[in-house]
Amino acid sequence: MGYTNLRYYVGGMEDWIEHNGPVERSPAPVAARPVIVAPQPGGSRAFVWLEILASWPLERLIGFWLGMIVVFGVIYWLTGIGMGWGLQAGNVEVKPDLSGFATAIYFSFVTALSIGYGDVIPTGPLRILAVIEGIAGLLVFGCVISKLVSRRQEELTAEIHHTTFEDRLDRVRTNLHLVFSDLGSVQQLQAEQGVLPDQVRRRLESTVRVFRGELQTIHDLLYKSHVEPDEEALESLLANLAICLQSLVEISASRPAGNGQSAALEAGLRAIGNLAQEICGECVPRVYAPALKESMDQIQELARRLA
């Protein structure tokens, strides 16, 4: 399944106890929570802030960028007041007044966008500051642009996911319906003849196989889908699942025990029972409406009876 860092402790529990390893006794948690992974060592610390920057949403990035320009502009302006070395526009010192502030902001924009007209120039230590602003401006602006580009990409991916997902749901629904009608006819035959002829049993086997596949899909959907299923669609799915399980339970209960049991059928039924038992309102990772939880619990109950 793609785990690359997997190792086996061959001795297992037997070896562990034999060598007096500590043993803990506690039941396994019902709803398994994902393991929280400790941060992996390695990866350059120096560029962490750049990654943080890239992970910001677009609005915040633009805000940060504008804020940075204004802050730099104010610094250019203030150094002109306090220390006497400031910006120069055409060999004339920029005055520490309101028009000077406008010039400083203008210079800050020109620098951050790396335009550099050269009509206003920094002097003295301000040149270092201007270079720093130039670099920072490029990086942040680059992040903004990449966000804009990837946004469309993300929309497309989400759309594709959504379409595939809907298709999958449709398929499951159709198949469950088929399973139900198949089970119904098997049940009828069983009631008429008491014992299932070979042909019918084979048909039941294949129905059980299809059912198992679709159950797996629903199970996956509840446990690990990235797409939130629509509650209405889920409700009809679960209802279908419940009636299929119900008739499977009935068939399984009135089936003559002992002779003529096929191993494939048994295995299929067991797998269905095990899978469906994991579907209940409290054990799936997401929280659903009470009605949905109820039908999930009902499914679990049916699965218990099947097992």
Binding site: M1, G2, Y3, T4, N5, L6, R7, Y8, Y9, V10, G11, G12, M13, E14, D15, W16, I17, H19, G21, P22, V23, E24, R25, S26, P27, A28, P29, A32, P34, V35, I36, V37, A38, Q40, Q216, H219, D220, Y223, K224, N274, L275, E278, P285
Partner: protein, 80 residues
Amino acid sequence: MVKPQSTEKIPYEPAISRDEIMARLEDRALVILNVMPKETYADGHIPGSISLPVAEIEAKARALLANPVQEIAVYCAGPT
């Protein structure tokens, strides 16, 4: 990865030693995975290990262990 149906084909390499597990019980970077049934797990397991019965690996591994490079030590009942 381990397929539930083909237990006899599990490659026992690479291995992790008892001593290493013992030394790293508190190390959160190492996930110790118990693949025995839930009942057996409840009867006694290595402290801090998590339960993922073999039969459920395919269904639950992704949800439980999302990181494919996660360091994992797998064990079961004994050297069978």
